[in-house]
């Protein structure tokens, strides 16, 4: 215990010496602060290059990413790539001290919540020169997909794939129990009805659980509002009624027992194996399109289907989200080599046969085409859904402002207090506005 605290204290202090990560239990094959300087090459045509790359994810992602790296090294013998990987939460805790120490890996996987934080503080290199020169080949990537990685006119992150929000239905179970299966144009009222029918048969519907940071902004978009103002300095919606409507409905679901109780929810580690659909307790779930795969693969005997989120205003609400990015860091000594690897990652057909859209539906149209015949049934469903969503969605919002991570936590806290009846929805709406604006103001300093 004391050791951890000391570690925390130390991390808070290190100026430039060490990149340590407090309380981090994840295995990490390569340690921070490795020497990235190339040693002098003797006789070799190209000077040997050592690149460090970091990503977050689960075991399957680690496995195939390592294979892709191997493949790249075989084709580019002068490049050695050192991987560093961790689960999502640990990943960011590891990255921050590395940023302080000036020891960030050359390539880091980036998430939209953190993009502004890192880009705004000049940690990420502009990739424009490399897309211009063709080192980073984006000729098959749509402008829309590319712009998701832009901050202040600079391309600081390369989109690796796109996702769209979706509702998963366990159609077989629904049919068997006489629960109506809503169509693509369903509404919140349909969802109420579905919850009631499911409850009667002893099933849950997958609520939004903890991810209000995803679904509340979706709801706001469906009614023509935004979570954050365009300049990112305040909350974007003018009227608290939106918050009240959203959480009143959610609370009703909770009180009626349509969704999983909070104490059980609190225990979830966020892996597909404990999904309530997999456990046979729920007939539906909600999430990003790429999350569908893990769940669907775990229930081979019950076909699952992807459906859009409830409306009205589905088209306005839905958007194609960059699932994650690769960024090249400003401190990297080999930016061009790093860009080359990213180019390989998004364009190489053989590599993508391993990746298979696990990081979102590929951004390269050519890769997408080439993968189609190779996809499993569940993977094909995701590609189809995202293709449908491309035609039935609206442009996404700019990356979240700095402070968004803290605001997401605030939203989750408030949702818990609402469900446990510690605060009224009206008061929560007011408190959210006040606190969130304070966080945004502080983060702008």
């Amino acid at each position: 215990m004391r050791k951890v605290l000391t570690a925390v204290l130390m991390c808070s202090l290190l100026g430039s010496l060490i990149g340590c990560s407090g309380g981090n239990s994840a295995d990490q094959p390569a340690s921070a602060g490795t020497d990235t300087a190339p040693s002098a090459a003797a006789g070799d045509k190209k000077e040997p290059v050592k690149l460090r790359i970091a990503w977050w994810g689960g075991q399957s992602r680690h496995d195939y990413t390592l294979k892709v790296i191997e493949m790249y090294q075989e084709q580019n013998p002068h490049v050695t790539i050192e991987p560093e990987y961790a689960p999502f939460d640990d990943y960011w805790k590891k990255l921050a001290p590395q940023a302080v120490a000036g020891g960030l890996p050359d390539i880091i996987q980036m998430d939209i919540s953190y993009l502004n934080q890192y880009a705004g503080r000049n940690q990420l290199a502009d990739l424009k020169p490399f897309t211009d020169s063709g080192v980073l080949d984006v000729s098959d990537v749509s402008e829309n997909a590319l712009s998701g990685g832009e901050v202040n006119g600079k391309l600081v992150a390369m989109n690796l794939g796109v996702n769209a929000l979706q509702t998963t239905f366990d159609v077989e179970t629904m049919k068997k129990n006489g629960i109506d299966i809503p169509g693509k144009d369903w509404t919140w009222d349909d969802m109420d009805k579905m919850g009631a029918q499911a409850k009667e048969k002893g099933f849950l519907i997958g609520g939004f659980a903890y991810r209000h940071d995803v679904f509340f902004p979706y709801y706001l978009r469906t009614i023509g509002q935004k979570m954050y103002s365009a300049d990112g300095k305040t909350i974007g919606y003018a009227d608290d009624q939106a918050f009240i409507d959203y959480f009143t409905r959610y609370q009703k679901w909770y009180d009626n027992g349509y969704i999983l109780s909070l104490d059980k929810e609190a225990q979830k580690k966020g892996v597909a194996e404990e999904d309530e659909i997999v456990l046979g307790n729920a007939i539906s779930g909600t999430g990003w399109s790429n999350q569908f795969l893990a769940v669907a693969n775990l229930v081979p005997d019950r076909p699952l289907e992807l459906n859009p989120m409830p409306g009205p205003g589905t088209k306005e609400g839905l958007f194609l989200k960059p699932s994650m990015y690769f960024s090249v860091t400003e401190t990297s000594k080999h930016k061009e080599e790093a860009a080359k690897f990213i180019s390989f990652f998004i364009n190489d057909i053989e590599a993508n046969k391993l990746i298979k859209g696990e990081r979102g539906v590929p951004v390269s149209a050519k890769v997408k085409e080439a993968l189609k015949p190779l996809l499993s049934e569940n993977e094909a469903k995701i590609f189809d859904y995202v293709t449908w969503a491309e035609a039935n969605s609206s442009p996404g919002d700019p990356p979240n402002p700095i402070g968004a991570v803290e605001i997401e936590k605030l939203l989750r806290d408030l949702s818990e207090r609402i469900l446990y009846k510690k605060i009224s929805v009206e008061d929560a709406a007011a408190e959210f506005r006040k606190e969130a604006n304070a966080i945004l103001a502080r983060s702008q300093q």
Partner: protein, 299 residues
């Protein structure tokens, strides 16, 4: 002659260098810089900017969570430390009378403390108090049907942490045991002859003679309880939930530093924690003159 002395000096410096350097680089420098950062706004990535007392002001005027985390921490400390000490003393007294296989028992009871702060234990605890865990199964044997998750339920979550802390009573127990062994047997024999029963003997002989040890354990355990971090971090997935019921101060500090990248603010939190623990330790020492009995003083 002179050269020999010089050599001795050098040897001395060389041998003490690892500690001195370690202390300067890994203890003193971090402590001082954290004091400096506590007066700044520092997000880890940009150079810190001077705030003066801003962080401290914010702690006491703006931050609602801090009150909650104080409440949680104090509940945790004031419940877990006495319970743990009472339990440790109780077991130590039983072991003190045991004659057979006492070594085995001692090790067995000490074991939880050895693996105490570990992540594995916290994960095990998560299972035991989960909705399909051991506790609920045990309750169902007695006909009590419960499907709640004890660690996910706001009214019980903190108590599972306290239970975990009490379970790790081993180190205090070993120290108590050593203290008990030091109390001369003749005192008890004399008291028995005079007609004192077990309760009398405990309160008139055992407790007073053990009081210096109690003071030692109390101080040590209080400080370490304030620094508890791992179990709360694991059990609540780093969030301090549900409803902030397990938001121990150290966890809150950690979250500020590493989830929200507010290093300056977290440093200020750390210093306030230091002051509080300092004051509390002082109070324990001050109060000790009233209840700690030292034989050597002859009173």
């Amino acid at each position: 002659m002179n050269r020999l002395r010089e050599n001795e000096h050098i040897t001395g410096y060389v041998f003490s260098a690892p500690f001195v350097l370690g202390f300067l680089i890994f203890t003193l420098y971090p402590i001082l810089s954290s004091l400096y950062y506590s007066f700044t706004n520092y997000n880890l990535m940009e150079a810190p900017s001077w705030l003066g007392l801003g962080n401290y002001e914010r702690m006491f005027t703006e931050d609602d969570k801090i009150g909650k985390s104080f409440q949680v921490t104090f509940t945790y400390v004031f419940a877990s430390v006495p319970l743990r000490l009472i339990f440790a003393l109780f077991v130590a007294m039983i072991l003190n009378t045991a004659t057979k296989a006492v070594g085995l028992y001692r090790s067995a009871f000490y074991l939880p403390s050895l693996i105490g702060g570990s992540v594995a234990v916290a994960i095990m605890w998560q299972q035991i108090f989960g909705d399909q865990g051991l506790v609920n199964s045990a309750l169902s044997l007695f006909g009590i049907e419960s499907s709640t998750s004890w660690i996910g339920n706001p009214s019980t979550a903190l108590w599972t942490l306290i239970a975990l802390s009490v379970w790790q009573f081993g180190s205090s127990m070993i120290i108590f045991l050593a203290g008990l062994k030091n109390i001369p047997k003749d005192y008890y024999e004399a008291a028995s002859v005079d007609g004192a029963n077990a309760v009398h003997r405990f309160f008139k002989i055992t407790l007073p003679l053990l009081s210096p040890i109690i003071l030692f354990n109390l101080t040590l355990q209080t400080i370490s309880a304030f620094l508890t971090f791992t179990p709360a971090y694991i059990i609540s997935r780093g969030e301090g939930g549900p409803l902030d019921q397990t938001l121990l101060y150290s966890l809150y500090l950690y979250r500020k530093a590493f989830s929200h990248f507010e290093m300056g603010y977290a440093s200020a939190l750390a210093w306030v924690m230091l002051v509080i623990v300092g004051i509390l330790t002082l109070l324990i020492f001050r109060s000790s003159t009233r209840w700690v009995h030292y034989e050597s003083k002859g009173d």
